[in-house]
Amino acid sequence: MDLYQQRLIGEAIHVFHIPPLDAEELVDDALLTVIERIGTFVFRKGDGDFHVWVLAIFRNRARDFMRKWASTGALEVAFDETRAGEGEECTAAEREVLGEIVRRYAEETRVLDENRDGEGRGPLAEIGRALDALESWERVLLRCRALAIPYEDIAEYTGKNVHHLRVYHQRVRKKFLAMLTVSLETKHERSSR
């Protein structure tokens, strides 16, 4: 439990950017859920099953936290505080596209019942569509880097070398943003007709 507690708190703070006190509470709750439901856990494929099961519980708790944040407006504030690294600033138009997705997600979260399955997915569907338009290795690179998965692991999954991935990460983000912008503009045009 000590190992999971430290690891998950680190994940919540450093990867999901959850404030430290909230991260500790979230992880405590996740570990309590693990203990309470331990009787329902079944090994199916191997030793890794338990790890995947614990992380699924943690991920659900993190999702609930994001929904709570979204419903109180804190998520939009957190988005406004995001900063791109040096030399990879977003244009105002690109920020607006992403900001609109976050705003719509927050609005939907406020409107829908908290326990309803699939809540918040609607506005995020555009993300999935824009990712699908990328090449396979680009998709893997973007998804994995957003979760701080090391370049070395991504190199194994994609067959590209680490240097290539580091160099291209910024460009792939730009390409993704461009596709997302087009996708949303097309959607707006269709709905305005």
Partner: protein, 195 residues
């Protein structure tokens, strides 16, 4: 700490199940170095909460005397024979008790007191287990009768349908109220044990 807006939106999509990593995230977490992030004063508090939750989770599964004894023996690596002599029961009677095949009413109060003392079982927990075990043993023949009436040998689908009907009937009758004389005997036993 820099957090790129694209990464933030992608993480949100990941948490909502729109974006998948096919196990890559889980593998990465397993490989990350754990950084101590808990204030030392909070660690014992969480440990206590987890211990309480674990005790609750185990208690909730141990509904009958048999399940409790089997679980407890496995925990300390003891055998049924050793336990039978410790609590003063014949081996065959103890084996029936381990498998919820004998009514607790047939076990003398002094044996129950030894079981309670040996395993340090709270009075109310032992009372609940004795009550449920007696209900199980008392109602088992009527379960069997119900299942026998619905037993069907014609194909998987028909067998499944017959089992469904039997289960519905059993649920309908599952109030499990003991007849007054049985209830009286059970209360007498519990009073004699002194839970």
């Amino acid at each position: 700490m820099n957090d790129h807006p694209v990464d933030m939106v992608l993480r949100l999509a990941f948490l909502e199940g729109v974006v998948h990593t096919r196990g890559a995230w889980e593998r990465a977490v397993a490989g990350r170095t754990a950084i101590p992030a808990v204030a030392p004063a909070r660690a014992p508090l969480l440990e206590q909460r987890l211990t309480d939750a674990l005790a609750g989770a185990i208690r909730s599964e141990l509904l009958t005397v048999g399940t409790f004894l089997r679980h407890a023996e496995a925990e300390i690596g003891s055998t049924g024979e050793e336990m039978a002599s410790r609590v003063g029961l014949r081996r065959n009677i103890y084996r029936l008790l381990e498998h919820d095949r004998i009514s607790p009413l047939r076990i003398p109060p002094e044996v129950w007191r030894r079981i309670r003392a040996f395993w340090n079982i709270p009075g109310d927990v032992l009372e609940g287990m004795i009550r449920r075990t007696h209900q199980l043993v008392f109602f088992r023949p009527s379960y069997r009768a119900t299942l026998a009436r619905y037993r069907h040998s014609g194909g998987t689908a028909r067998r499944s349908s017959a089992m469904q009907k039997a289960a519905t009937e059993l649920y309908a009758r599952a109030r499990l109220e003991l007849p007054p004389d049985e209830e009286h005997r059970l209360r007498e036993l519990i009073r004699a044990i002194g839970t």
